[in-house]
């Protein structure tokens, strides 16, 4: 029922992501990944504009996962550098890469599931 109510249901993947990352639980992260499709598919607000909402949802929900990946990369010595500006640039660079890969993978799956979507047009 909660899912049917609409836009607030989009917070479910965000919550799952935070819980999964805090507990470092792989099953929760797997559920988090698939929850995007259930939420976007069931929320009435997303109907016929699934790509737009998926993009937005992935941007926010993947932040904890991306931060976790960045922490792992930092531990592997891939981010830190004596020059602060270089460390910062590397962070932006890797974050942009992660974000883009996630958005494209989720976007392609979304388009494959919901083929017919309305396009927003400027009148």
């Amino acid at each position: 029922m909660f899912l049917k109510k609409g836009i607030w249901s989009l917070l479910i993947p965000v919550a799952l992501s935070v819980i999964g990352v805090l507990l470092r639980s792989v099953p929760i992260i797997v559920i988090f990944f698939f929850s995007h499709f259930f939420v976007v598919g069931l929320a009435p607000a997303c109907k016929k504009h699934e790509s737009i909402w998926m993009f937005l949802l992935v941007f926010f929900s993947f932040i904890p996962v991306n931060v976790l990946i960045m922490i792992i990369m930092d531990k592997l010595g891939m981010l830190l550098h004596p020059m602060f500006i270089l460390s910062l640039c590397r962070c932006i660079f890797y974050y942009a890469m992660l974000f883009s890969v996630e958005e494209i993978v989720m976007g392609v799956i979304t388009r494959a599931i919901w083929k017919k979507q309305y396009k927003l047009r400027l009148k």
Partner: protein, 324 residues
């Protein structure tokens, strides 16, 4: 520099009415109506022949007038190097001609690429990880150079074959220089006529798939030839980096093109940028309800992520400086 003007390679000719043809440029979208004789003359402008010595049904005055029109619409080339955006230059190396044989080969190649890149990458990673204890890590510099050259060349080859496989007109293949510093390669293909969205996405994604396939093959070879493990690992790293870099939403890269296709826009990043500086456009979008607001937020995110471009440039430049 060409001795004489050369007709642009990116022109599309469509029959319009009984005797007229509509000539349009793929790059500039400029259009002009021309007669059969004028097109016959224009096609013979190869950069080496004096236009006034070309045999055709046009008089000297008509030829001069036509050259002026072609020049006005930027349909003529005077140099092998074409200027793109600010600090961007293109140098065509090959003007591929679509033949039946090439199209069949491309279709098979494209199908194999789509089916094999992911299994090959997984297989490569798993076998490399299994043999990592026996590995000898040397030849990194050689691997870096090979990875860079092979990665760039095969990436473009992937686009080229995918373009031919889906019957997209491929105008030219060449090398380029972006923002005066970043060298690269390009395949100029027109995907506008392709109706199927998935085919358009595959043409944009083929280069990335090719890089990941190459990374998988390198890791597979590295796990077999352990003496050259370092070199093969470097080739794989370069190609994975190349693939992920191309997936970013920086304008002009494959990632932004794929995203544009997913949203059904011609150029989503350019659209997002134009929306940021146009309050009226934003108002019209938000008037369409919650979806409009969502799309405006997406545009803000895309514009925000354009800062990744200078960050990548800075990483490249500062890493080189830091070496000294």
């Amino acid at each position: 520099m060409y001795k004489y003007p050369r007709i642009s390679n990116t022109l599309k000719i469509k029959k319009y009415g009984e005797e007229e043809f509509l000539v349009s440029d793929f790059l500039s979208d400029e259009e002009v109506y021309m007669s059969h004789d004028a097109i016959d003359f224009a096609k013979k402008l190869d950069g080496h022949t004096n236009p006034f010595r070309i045999r055709c049904n046009l008089s000297m005055e008509e030829k001069e007038e036509l050259l002026e029109i072609l020049d006005e619409h930027e349909f003529l080339m005077y140099s092998k190097v074409t200027k793109g955006g600010p600090g961007t230059f293109y140098r065509a190396l090959w003007y591929p001609k679509s033949t039946i044989g090439l199209r069949i080969f491309s279709s098979v190649f494209n199908l194999l690429l789509m089916l094999s890149w992911l299994p090959m990458l997984i297989l490569g990673i798993s076998l490399f990880a299994k043999n990592i204890i026996r590995m000898e890590f040397n030849g990194f510099v050689f691997g870096f150079v090979i990875g860079l050259i092979l990665g760039t060349a095969l990436h473009e080859l992937g686009h080229l074959f995918a373009g031919f496989a889906y019957n997209a007109p491929v105008y030219e293949v060449g090398v380029m220089l972006m923002r005066f510093v970043i060298p690269g390669a390009y395949v100029m293909a027109d995907t506008d006529n392709i109706k199927n969205r998935n085919s358009r996405i595959q043409i944009d994604a083929a280069g990335i798939e090719m890089n990941l396939l190459l990374a998988g093959v390198s890791l597979l070879l590295g796990s077999h030839f352990v003496r050259f493990g370092g070199m093969f690992m470097m080739i794989a790293i370069m190609n994975i980096l190349f693939a992920t870099l191309n997936l970013t939403f920086i304008e002009g890269l494959d990632g932004s093109n794929i995203l544009s296709n997913l949203f059904g826009e011609e150029n989503i990043v350019r659209y997002a940028k134009s929306l940021m500086f146009n309050k009226n456009k934003r108002k019209k979008l938000t008037a369409q309800g919650i979806h409009g607001y969502a799309f405006v937020v997406i545009c803000y995110i895309l514009v925000l992520f354009q800062i990744a471009y200078p960050a990548i440039l800075a990483v490249n430049i500062l890493e080189v400086i830091a070496c000294f």
